[in-house]
Amino acid sequence: MDRRIIPIVALILIFLAIVIHQNQSYPVCPDCNVIIIAFDAMQYYHTSLTDSGYHKNTTPNLADFSQQGTVFTDAISPASWTVPTYVSWFTSLYPSEHKVVNRYSVYNSTYSVVADFRKLRTNTTYTMADILKENGYATGAFTGDAGARGDSGNVKGFDVYVDKPLGFNGFDFSEPLALNWITTHKNQKFFVFLHGYDAHGQFNLQNFTGRFLNINYTGKFTGSPKEQGQLREEGLAKGYVNVTQDDVTFWKAVYDEKIYDADAVFGRFINNLTQQGLMNNTIIIVASDHGTEMFEHGRVDHGDTLYQELIHVPLVVRIPGMNSVKISNTQISILDFMPTVLDALGIKVNQTIQSQMKGQSLVQALQSKGVSRDVYSETDYRLYTHKRSIITTDGWKFIWTLAEYPNKTNVKELYNLTADPHETLNVIEEYPRVAYELEQKVAQHMKDMGTDINGPWVIGCSPVYSDQCKEVSNE
C-alpha cells in the first residue's frame, strides 16, 4: 500500500469522528422533564421581559428566569382566545384543523355539545401528553378551569387533569397542586402543564394595592370581573366602549397588578423547582395563550380581534445544558411547542404524527439559527366574528374579517408593523398589491387547513360564559 495514503485516511477518520460527535450531542435534553407554564391572557407588551418596551416592572421573576433561557420577541399565537389556543399548543394543529374553534360545537336552546377534537376530527389526534406518556412520562395538568378545561380533548394523554372547581382560578390554586404532584413524581420523568387565570379579566384580584397606578383615580370602576365582562359585551355590541383616559389608566393598573401577582407565584414555583434540584433536567416553557386588549383598538378583553395586543404573546424557553441565545428575534408560531419538546427530548414519532404537527421545532432558533416564518392566526370567537390573519417575515400584517356581527363581511386591513407596530393605520389603499398577495396567502393557508374560503361564514351565538346567549339558552 502506498504510504502517502495514510494521512488521507487519518483525515477522513478525524472528519468522521467530528460528525459522530456532533450527532451524539443530539438530542439536546434526553429524558428531561417538561413543564409548560401558561400565564393566561398576559399581553407581551405588559410584561417586563427584555424588549417588550414596557416601563413597569410587572414580571421581575419571569425576567430573572428568562436570563437562564431564551426570550422570543416575536412569538405569535394561532388564535386570540383560550379555547382554541390550548388545543393548538398540545396538538400543533391550527384551530380550524383541530376544530375546537368555540366552546360548543353545537349550541341551541334545547341542545348543546362541547367542542371536543376527539369527536370532531375524523383522524386520530395525537397530543403532546399522549406521546410523552407513551415514552414513560408521568403526565399532569393543573389548570384554572374555564377555557382550559380538559373536555375540549386536552385531557387526552394526561394521568391527572385538574380543571375544577368551576370558574377562573389562578396560580394560587393550581401551583400548589402542581408542586405537590411534582414532588411525588420527581423520581420519574414527568410532564406538567401549569395554568393560571391570574391575568384574565374574569379573575378576581383580591387585594388591589394600586402598585402600578400613578394617578388618583376617582372614576366609576372598581376593576371587578363583572365590570370587565360588561365592558367586553358593550364593546362587542357597539364596536367601542365609553371610557375616559383615567379609566384606561386604572384598568391597565389593575391588569398589571394581576400580572405582578401571577409573576410572584411563578417566582415561588421556580425557586421550589431549584431547591428540589430539578432545574438541570427540566425543560421549561413559559408562555401566554393570548393577550388582553387594554383599549388599544377601542375595546377591552380578547377573542374578537387579531390585533397584536392579542396574538403577540410572551414566550420564554429554557432547555438545560443547551448553549442557547438570550434573545431570539425569530418570528415563530405558538404551534411549535410539541415539535420543539419532541426534538429536544429526541423522541422520534411516526409519519402520521409528523404530518399532524403544523409547527416546527424551535431548537434551531434557540441556537441562534432560527429562520423566521410567515405566521397565521384565526378566530371564530363565539360566532360573533370570523377572522384570519397573516404576519409576514418582512413585517406586513393582513387581517381578513370574513364576517362579523351584525352584518360586516369581507373587510380587509393591512398594517406595516415595522412602521406601525400597534396597528393604528390601515394602509390597504396605499398597498393594494401587498394586500392582494397576502389575501391569497391566507386563502391558500385556509385551503391547506381544509377550510372552504367561500364560506358560508355564519354569525350566531356560541357562548363561552354562562351569561351569554341567554336568548337561545335555558341555562
Binding site: 369581507n410 398589491r433 392582494y436 389575501e439 391569497q440 386563502a443 385556509m446 385551503k447 367561500n454
Partner: protein, 454 residues
C-alpha cells in the same frame, strides 16, 4: 498495470442505453414575466369553422398562421352559451352560478369578494383597456368595467381604438380585452365577403349587408338595441329552416363573418409586429360561445349541446414551443392560466385552474377533467367521455345523458339505462347546484323569441 481493451461497440451500447433509460424530459417552462396580454374574443365562434381546427374552407388564414406558433386547445368549453355569464366567467375564473351575473335583465353586479382579471393586472402596474360591442350584455353595471382604465364600446372595426390605446399606454405593460360580435346573427356581410364561399345561392336569405340594411330601413328598423329583436325576426323570417340549402347558406354567411373577424385579428397582429412588441405579448383568441345550425333542431346559442359550448382557445406565449392540447379545459381556466404565465398569484376563491402545467407538459397527469355549463333553465356537467344535461320545463326536471366518445353528436340519450355514470353525474350536478346555490328559470316562463337576449 495491465491495459484493458474496451470495444467501441460496447461504448456505443452504453451510450444508447443511457439515452434510452434517461430520456430528456420535454418539460418546457411556459412563462412570460411582465408581458403584455391581449385577449380577442368573438361571440358565436365554433372551432370546427376555423382552419386551425381543420375546417376545409379558408375562413381564418391569419389566425391559422399566427397560432401555428402557439397552443391549440382542442377541447375548450364555455361555461354558458350566452355572452353575459360567459364573459364574466372568462374575466373572473368563476362559474356562472358562483359569480351570479347571469341575467341580462337584472342589475346583479359582480360581488366585491371577487377579482376581475384587469383588477389584478392593474395591481401589477398594467394599463388596461376593455373594448366590447355588446352593450346590453357587456354593460358596466354588471361589473365588466372594473379594473379597466378604459372601457368602451366599439363598432365592427376596432383596430384604431386598440392602436390608440397601445400608443397612449407608452411603454407601460398593457392588458387589452376585445369582445366582438361580428359573427352573431343576422349573418350579413358586405360585398365581396357575402358571396366569397357561395356565389350561386338563389334563396330568400339576404346576406349582403347593404341589401339587408335597405330592407331594415323599409321596415323602419335601425341597429339600436331596442329594435334588435325585430331586426333578427326580419332576418330569420326569410330563412326556410327546413331547406338544407338555406341552412348551408346560413353557414356560408356565418363563415364570411368569421373570415372578416380573422381579417381584423390579422391587422392587430401586424400592428403588434410593426411596433416590435409581439415578442413580449401574450395573445389569446377565444369565444364566449358557439353556434347551432340545426344539429338539435334549432339555431343560435340557446342550448348546452357541444355546438354551442365547444369553443376555440388559442394561446400564443412568446418563446414557448407550440403544442396541441387535447385535455378538456374551460373558459373558466383562462384567467388563472394568464396569471400563472405572468407569474402573478391567482385568487384562491376561483373555480378555474391554471392550464400552465398542460402547456408545459401535455402528457401531465390530469385526473380531474370535469366542467359545468349552464343556461337559464339548464345545467350541464361534462367530462371527456360523458355529458349530462338537466332541464327544467313546465315544473318538470328532466335529464339527458350522452356518451361523447361513441356519440359525439349527442343524439342517443342514455338516461334510465342504469349506467353508473347517471348517478355519478347527477350527484356532481347536485353538488354544484348546492355549492353555488344555483337557480333555474323554468323554460315556460320565458316568452322572448330569443332566449337570453333582451
Amino acid at each position: 498495470m495491465k491495459k484493458y481493451y474496451i470495444p467501441p461497440i460496447l461504448v456505443l451500447a452504453v451510450i444508447i442505453l443511457v439515452v434510452v433509460a434517461f430520456p430528456s424530459q420535454q418539460q418546457d417552462n411556459v412563462s412570460c414575466n411582465n408581458c403584455n396580454v391581449i385577449i380577442v374574443t368573438s361571440e358565436a365562434i365554433r372551432p370546427d369553422h376555423l382552419g386551425i381546427y381543420g375546417y376545409q374552407r379558408n375562413t381564418t388564414p391569419n389566425i391559422d398562421s399566427f397560432f401555428r406558433k402557439g397552443f391549440v386547445f382542442e377541447n375548450d368549453f364555455a361555461q354558458a352559451p350566452n355572452t353575459l355569464p360567459s364573459h364574466m366567467t372568462i374575466l373572473t375564473g368563476l362559474y356562472p352560478s358562483h359569480h351570479k351575473v347571469i341575467d341580462v335583465n337584472s342589475n346583479n353586479s359582480l360581488s366585491n369578494e371577487y377579482y376581475t382579471l384587469p383588477e389584478i393586472l392593474k395591481l401589477y402596474d398594467y394599463k388596461t383597456a376593455g373594448f366590447h360591442s355588446s352593450n346590453p350584455h357587456m354593460n358596466p353595471k354588471f361589473g365588466f368595467s372594473r379594473g379597466f382604465d378604459i372601457y368602451k364600446r366599439i363598432g365592427v372595426v376596432y383596430h384604431d381604438d386598440v392602436l390608440d390605446f397601445i400608443n397612449s399606454s407608452e411603454n407601460s405593460k398593457f392588458f387589452i380585452y376585445i369582445q366582438s360580435t361580428n359573427v352573431v346573427d343576422p349573418y350579413v356581410a358586405p360585398h365581396p365577403y357575402d358571396t366569397m364561399f357561395d356565389n350561386n345561392y338563389t334563396g330568400k336569405i339576404v346576406g349582403n349587408s347593404d341589401e339587408f340594411e335597405a330592407l331594415m330601413r323599409k321596415n323602419n328598423l335601425t341597429w339600436q338595441t331596442s329594435d334588435f329583436d325585430k331586426v333578427r325576426l326580419l332576418y330569420w323570417n326569410l330563412v326556410n329552416k327546413s331547406d338544407p340549402r338555406d341552412i348551408r347558406h346560413l353557414e356560408v354567411l356565418y363563415d364570411a363573418n368569421i373570415y372578416w373577424t380573422d381579417l381584423f385579428f390579422g391587422r392587430i397582429i401586424n400592428s403588434l409586429e410593426e411596433l416590435g412588441i409581439l415578442n413580449h405579448t401574450i395573445v389569446i383568441f377565444g369565444a364566449g360561445h358557439g353556434e347551432e345550425f340545426g344539429e338539435h333542431g334549432g339555431f343560435l346559442h340557446e342550448k348546452l349541446y357541444d355546438e354551442t359550448i365547444h369553443v376555440p382557445l388559442l394561446i400564443y406565449v412568446p418563446g414557448a414551443r407550440p403544442k396541441i392540447i387535447e385535455n378538456q379545459v374551460g373558459n373558466v381556466d383562462i384567467m388563472p392560466t394568464i396569471l400563472s404565465i405572468l407569474n402573478i398569484p391567482q385568487p384562491e376563491n376561483i373555480d378555474g385552474r391554471s392550464l400552465k402545467f398542460l402547456m408545459e407538459n401535455p402528457n401531465a397527469n390530469d385526473p380531474n377533467q370535469i366542467l359545468y355549463s349552464e343556461f337559464v333553465s339548464q345545467m350541464a356537467v361534462r367530462t371527456p367521455e360523458w355529458k349530462m344535461i338537466e332541464s327544467l320545463n313546465n315544473s318538470v326536471v328532466s335529464y339527458e345523458l350522452y356518451n361523447l366518445k361513441k356519440n359525439p353528436q349527442e343524439k342517443i340519450n342514455l338516461i334510465d339505462k342504469n349506467l353508473t355514470q347517471e348517478n355519478e353525474l347527477k350527484s356532481d350536478l347536485q353538488n354544484y347546484e348546492v355549492k353555488f346555490n344555483s337557480t333555474f328559470t323554468d323554460l315556460k316562463l320565458i316568452n322572448s323569441t330569443f332566449i337570453g337576449y333582451p
